[in-house]
Symmetry: C2
Subunit: 187 residues, 2 copies
């Protein structure tokens, strides 16, 4: 007999992430998670309140995951190099975890926990822009532009939305250069 690790909310979310990775966000179902846990579906309710809550928790985990990776990627660099690194790291994350990214909440505004961790992720972007001397609103706009670029590209790419054969790396490089140019003109 294998020693059954006790089921906890954390392990349930772990399993849920596995389901998302394999079956996509829509494949995330309590039944699927329960089966992987070797447990009857209703038993999950001892650990999570509902499918909706589980999805929220998965979203939080993804946000944490991204925050961690991007923070690590960007550490030790600054200026254009940092921005470039961050943008590449973002694209790489989404390419490596397309389903997870699709499970990321676009509107973390509602759930307070999600909002907190989403704020951290934003903070990484914001901090990466430090050194360009942006003040107040200008920094907010610059962060938003960055977010639009990385999310726009990544979401289309991960959905397989770019049909033509032209090099996507080249397109992404152009986006990076475009963004860096505005930063330079602004500071």
């Amino acid at each position: 007999m294998v020693i059954k690790k006790p089921l906890t909310p954390t392990t349930v979310v772990d399993v849920a992430l596995g389901v998302v990775d394999e079956d996509g966000p829509d494949g995330l179902t309590l039944a699927a998670v329960a089966q992987r846990c070797g447990v009857a579906t209703p038993s999950l309710y001892k650990h999570v309140a509902s499918l909706g809550e589980l999805k929220t928790l998965v979203g939080v985990r993804v946000l944490e995951d991204m925050t961690e990776q991007f923070t690590a990627a960007v550490l030790g660099s600054s200026g254009d190099e940092a921005v470039t690194t961050l943008m590449h790291a973002y694209r790489a994350y989404v390419a490596a975890n397309p389903n997870r990214y699709a499970a990321m909440p676009m509107d973390p505004v509602h759930d307070p926990v999600q909002r907190a961790i989403a704020g951290k992720l934003l903070g990484v972007m914001y901090a990466t822009l430090r050194g360009y001397g942006l003040e107040g609103p200008a920094a907010v706009h610059a962060t938003r532009r960055l977010r639009v670029l990385v999310h726009g590209f990544a979401s289309i790419e991960s959905a397989g939305g770019f049909g033509l054969p032209e090099d996507l790396d080249e397109t992404y490089d152009q986006l990076i250069q475009m963004y860096l140019t505005t930063l330079r003109n602004e500071s």
Copy 2:
């Protein structure tokens, strides 16, 4: 007795769009559509093959809708003005129809009908860039950049993903300027 219009695939899609508008993409259910049509759920199968097909058809309709609007918006202008107009029209469409936009397929690659109409929409963007003298790959990259910008911004905005109070019009204007700058430097 009101004269019952005969149900056709087209009217079913019309009703489905109404459901999407009100309840979001996830609220689109055969049961909901059937109820609005005043018909039992299985009866819908006389008109659409499955829920999946209905979603595809809804996606097509949204793409057609957008294509039509953007074409009209951009007619008669060219250069920076045309690009600016297109970008504003895109944002306006998504703001006016957030749920519909969320129902738009990001990967029209699979269904041939969707691919065709998606190609038309891309064609509008592509045509808008005429006059910048872009050749071959450069035009493709420029179109992609445009798409990334408008989709990135619109999808975040429509999801309520911009939390801070700073003016979103300003952010969008900056994105437009950013894009126009790259176009000028390229042509």
